[in-house]
């Protein structure tokens, strides 16, 4: 597929990607979120990542649940199919969609309510299956769309807008993901696109389930003093562990290997994720290490961000199911139909 609806207006000298598309070609409908909502920044980062990776928009698929966060799939990649499913159940729809056609790039967008309460089971099981998709969890500690109830990611002691503290331990998507064996686990912040865009790119290129937990403040219901998911609090406490950047397959890749601080992780497509260690001695390929880094950060009240764990060796859902490369939806019926004679044969055992 190479045909495109050409972008309408293009500024002079506007940067184009390998497909000749400009960043605006990766936009979607106008956002209806609140002005200043963290989610809008994440949307912009996602669009940019697709742009920079030169993915044809119509070869991407966007899936989401229900919530302010989940709405955002309408606000980028207008030329990609979107599926705004039901509350908390996006992972299953994504699983089916990915199963049907492995040749597209899948991005799921969800919220902390969508993923950690009603959707917890599906979220965990999609990670367990290592479905080949990137899952962006826009985490604001509240239910935005239903007007500000605490979500399960609300931190102990975080204050609600009306002043009541949350007293239940938070479910941290990153710890959870590590504990159930997810193969790409990262955390970002909507306010730091410089970190986030490369993470999204790496996640999109990871073969298997990629989780990025993005702290994405809700300006309407959880951005006040005392909230631990506010812009102010996140800026103050967040801590970058590992910077990850995806480098597309090319001859020069090997050259990078020598740079002191850089650790390369080879991807299935021949590309490489370059990890720049910011935390001494921390190797995101070691799951146990990631867990203890996380535990330490929690003790120090730090919000650990960056690529926290990657495992390129574990087979993804397609490999686990021994599926052939060709998408299921492209196998011609003639190959699927055993035919009348075979039907007769098969029934010999029924006599």
């Amino acid at each position: 597929m190479t045909s495109f609806t050409k972008p309408h207006i293009r500024r002079k000298n506007e940067p184009v990607n390998k497909l000749g598309l400009v960043r605006a070609d990766y936009d979607g409908a106008m956002s209806t979120l609140c002005a200043g909502c963290g989610h809008d920044s994440v949307t912009a980062s996602m669009a940019r990542a697709f742009f920079e990776l030169s993915i044809e928009p119509h070869r991407a698929v966007k899936v989401s649940g229900i919530g302010c966060s989940s709405k955002t799939t309408a606000y980028f990649l207008r030329e990609a199919h979107g599926n705004n499913t039901v509350h908390g159940r996006m992972p299953s729809v994504a699983t089916g969609a990915v199963a049907a056609n492995s040749a597209l790039t899948y991005i799921g967008v969800s919220g902390d309510g969508d993923s950690l309460s009603i959707g917890l089971g599906q979220f965990v099981h999609a990670m367990r299956r290592n479905v080949n998709m990137l899952y962006v969890l826009e985490n604001n500690g509240v239910y935005g769309l239903t007007k500000g109830q605490f979500s399960a990611s609300a931190d102990l002691g975080s204050l609600a807008k009306r002043g009541a503290p949350n007293e239940m331990p938070p479910i941290d998507p990153v710890s959870l993901a590590l504990s159930v064996g997810a193969t790409f686990v990262a955390r970002g912040f909507s306010g730091d696109r410089e970190q986030l865009v490369p993470l999204i790119k790496a996640g999109l290129k990871h073969k298997g389930f990629g989780l990025i937990d993005v702290i994405s403040p809700c300006v309407s219901f959880n951005d006040h003093k005392g909230s631990t998911k506010s812009y102010a609090h996140t800026y103050q406490y967040y801590h970058k562990a590992v910077h990850a950047d995806y480098v597309a397959p090319s001859k020069d890749i090997k050259v990078c290997y020598d740079e002191g601080e850089i650790m390369p992780v080879e991807m299935h497509d021949g590309g490489v994720i370059r990890l720049r260690k910011l935390e001494k001695g921390f190797d995101p390929r070691d799951r146990a290490a990631a867990m203890s880094a996380l535990a330490n950060a929690q003790k120090n009240d730090e919000i650990l961000t960056g690529l926290l764990h990657i495992d390129e060796t574990h087979p993804d859902m397609h490999a686990l199911n021994k599926m052939e490369d060709r998408p299921l939806n492209e196998i011609p019926y003639a190959e699927l139909n055993p035919g009348a004679a075979k039907l007769h044969d098969l029934q010999k055992g029924f006599r």
Partner: protein
């Protein structure tokens, strides 16, 4: 009640589950079938793995009736716990066979029956060493005794044993030995055969013995389904097992070991529903088998698929509800739920197979209809059809079949059109075009379960919303002529009254109708096979003064659909309801019809 006779009687085997009796009983049934005599087999098993009562009933019916009769002429009472009940069930003149290894202190019997005792346990304990064999071989021993008493063809039985253990040849001799034990004991101690017994015929040519779940699984293979997701639940599990087995056999590349299909055991029914929606939305034919509780759990997703217009194929292998109910007993109790599943104004397509043959066919039709109408389609089977082996015509296939993918735009078609709108009724047939992700930038649209207008855009505007749901209703209605048509079986003489029934009631209803006819009560019969109801259904209800609606649930759910969706006046409809969980027998229907006809003073 009817007398036992040659090739016309019922044998019931009462066992404890987990003791290996099921395969022994199946062997007995298969032997009779291979002798050319039609059989009806019903396995009634408990909802546990080991130690509870289980029954296997084999009706031998030279005439080829397809339902249960309601009689029991011969009981093999291997379960002391249900002995009293089994004894009571036996028809007068019947025969009871039991294990008399240990004397029973308060031995119950009846003067009007014949009791035969065989020391199966002792025979096996003497003959076999391993504890497990001693238990398992008791089953084969009674197979031998029954074979002698019913004059079964030993060659056929031996051949069946060899096929059964073809992968474990060591077991063949052991089993043959056990059969001989029982056989010889019977020949020695009893007058063999009994007055009712089996004589070879040629009435099963061109037939197979198959269960509905296997047939439906096979149907999904032939339909070209490549994706299935499910959560284990009795009695639907074997449907996915069958699909997996055939895919494994037919769709794995011998060289690469790579698969042309994907089956996912989901974490629950909600997830299974979501997965098949995702896969179908993305162009792979998909399905999920489940049972009542699963449909309840999938309700939200079913409404999503309805409103977002995504093909969805569900097999509901019905079991006794409500709630967990009796998971291993049969009912037709999800008809109403499936017709309107989910909140808001929703209505779905239903297919009602009556036997495994139709399970196969309707599995294919369900996929075609789901894609044609872009909506959920339910195949409403039940335990009786799904898990019992039925004698049906060998399944056939038309090699010219091509899947109806419905109004799906190809890359080329998209290339040509100006602009694509997902929910626009371009052709005036109420069905919009759909596109698959990845085919063309022009094809992109945003699928949502929230308010959308006919172009696919988000809306909160009342008129724009109505336009879409009004079309949905019209689309649903237009499916009436596309779902399988009812099967109408007119009475021999002109009849003013009729029977309407559905699914697994068919055999019992047909037999009851024939017997009543023989007695001068003429009734036309229509078996419904699809919903929404077609004109033929309307016509049938219009053409008859009184209509008996026979179904297997408490609340007359099929009758309810007729009341809601046809013009039939209520006074015309007389419900005949069976919902104990046992497969329907013709005597129940016969008596109920007779009584109802008497009360209503129908000639």
């Amino acid at each position: 009640m009817s007398e036992a006779a040659i090739n016309d009687f019922v044998i019931k085997l009462a066992n404890v589950n987990g003791t290996g009796s099921a395969s022994a009983n199946g062997l007995l049934m298969k032997a009779i079938f291979r002798m050319g005599v039609p059989v009806v087999g019903k396995n009634v098993f408990p909802s546990n793995i080991q130690g509870l009562p289980t029954w296997y009933e084999i009706r031998v019916t030279e005439k080829g009736y397809r339902g249960r009769s309601g009689d029991v002429h011969f009981i093999v009472a291997m379960n002391a716990e249900t002995y009293e009940r089994d004894l009571a069930e036996l028809s007068p003149g019947g025969v009871l066979l039991y294990d008399n290894t240990w004397p029973r202190p308060h031995f119950l019997t009846r003067p009007d029956i014949q009791v035969l005792g065989v020391p199966f346990a002792r025979l096996c304990n003497d003959a076999f060493k391993a504890a497990r064999s001693r238990i398992l071989m008791k089953n084969m021993a009674y197979v031998g005794t029954v074979a002698a008493l019913l004059n079964l063809d030993l060659d056929v039985i031996h051949q069946l044993v060899r096929e059964m253990f073809s992968t474990k040849p060591k077991l063949i001799d052991l089993n043959l030995q056990a059969i001989a034990l029982g056989y010889d004991y019977a020949k020695e101690h009893f007058d063999c055969p009994l007055p009712f017994s089996v004589q070879s015929r040629d009435n099963t040519a061109g037939k197979v013995m198959i269960d509905g779940n296997t047939a439906a699984g096979l149907g999904c293979v032939y339909a070209g389904a490549t994706f299935g997701a499910w959560y284990p639940i009795t009695p639907s599990t074997s449907l996915m097992d069958a699909f997996a087995k055939y895919c494994d056999q037919l769709r794995v590349d011998v060289d690469t070991d790579l698969h042309k299909y994907c089956i996912i055991q989901a974490e629950d029914e909600l997830a299974a529903a979501g997965m098949i929606i995702g896969a179908a939305w993305n162009g792979a034919r998909s399905f999920t088998p489940t049972s009542g509780p699963g449909i309840s759990l999938m309700s939200e997703f079913i409404g999503f698929a309805y409103y977002a217009e995504i093909p969805m194929v569900l097999f509901d292998i019905q079991r006794v509800g409500p709630s967990t109910g009796m998971p291993t007993r049969t009912q037709q109790c999800d008809i109403q739920l499936c017709a309107y599943a989910s909140h808001g104004d929703t209505r779905h397509l239903l297919l009602f197979p009556a036997d495994p043959g139709e399970c196969f066919e309707m599995a294919v039709q369900a996929h075609d209809l789901a894609e044609r109408f872009q909506t959920p389609v339910f195949v409403l089977s039940d335990i009786d059809i799904g898990m019992n082996d039925w004698m049906v015509d060998e399944l056939t296939w038309d090699d010219s079949y091509q899947p109806d993918r419905g109004k799906l735009l190809s890359t080329e078609e998209l290339e040509k059109i100006e602009k694509f709108h997902r929910y626009l009724d371009v052709d005036g047939d109420h069905i919009p075009y759909r596109t698959l992700p990845g085919t063309h930038p022009k094809g992109a649209y945003f699928t949502r379960g929230s308010g959308h207008n006919k172009f696919g855009g988000y809306t909160e505007d009342g008129q724009a919303y109505k336009e879409v749901v009004d079309r949905l209703r019209a689309k649903w209605h237009s499916a009436a002529s596309k779902v399988p048509a009812p099967v109408i079986s007119p009475s021999k003489k002109k009849a003013c009254c009729g029977i309407i029934s559905v699914g697994s009631c068919d055999g019992a209803v047909l037999e009851a109708r024939d017997r009543l006819e023989a007695e001068g009560l003429h009734l036309d019969y229509m078996r419904i096979r699809g919903f929404p109801f077609s004109d033929e259904v309307e016509q049938f209800v219009a053409d008859h003064d009184e209509i008996f609606v026979v179904e297997q649930n408490r609340d007359a759910q099929l009758m309810g659909l007729l009341l809601l969706e046809t013009d039939v006046p209520r006074e015309k409809l007389i419900p005949i309801l069976h919902y104990s969980g046992e497969p329907l027998d013709y005597q129940f229907v016969y008596s109920a019809l007779q009584e109802a006809a008497r009360v209503r003073k129908i000639a």
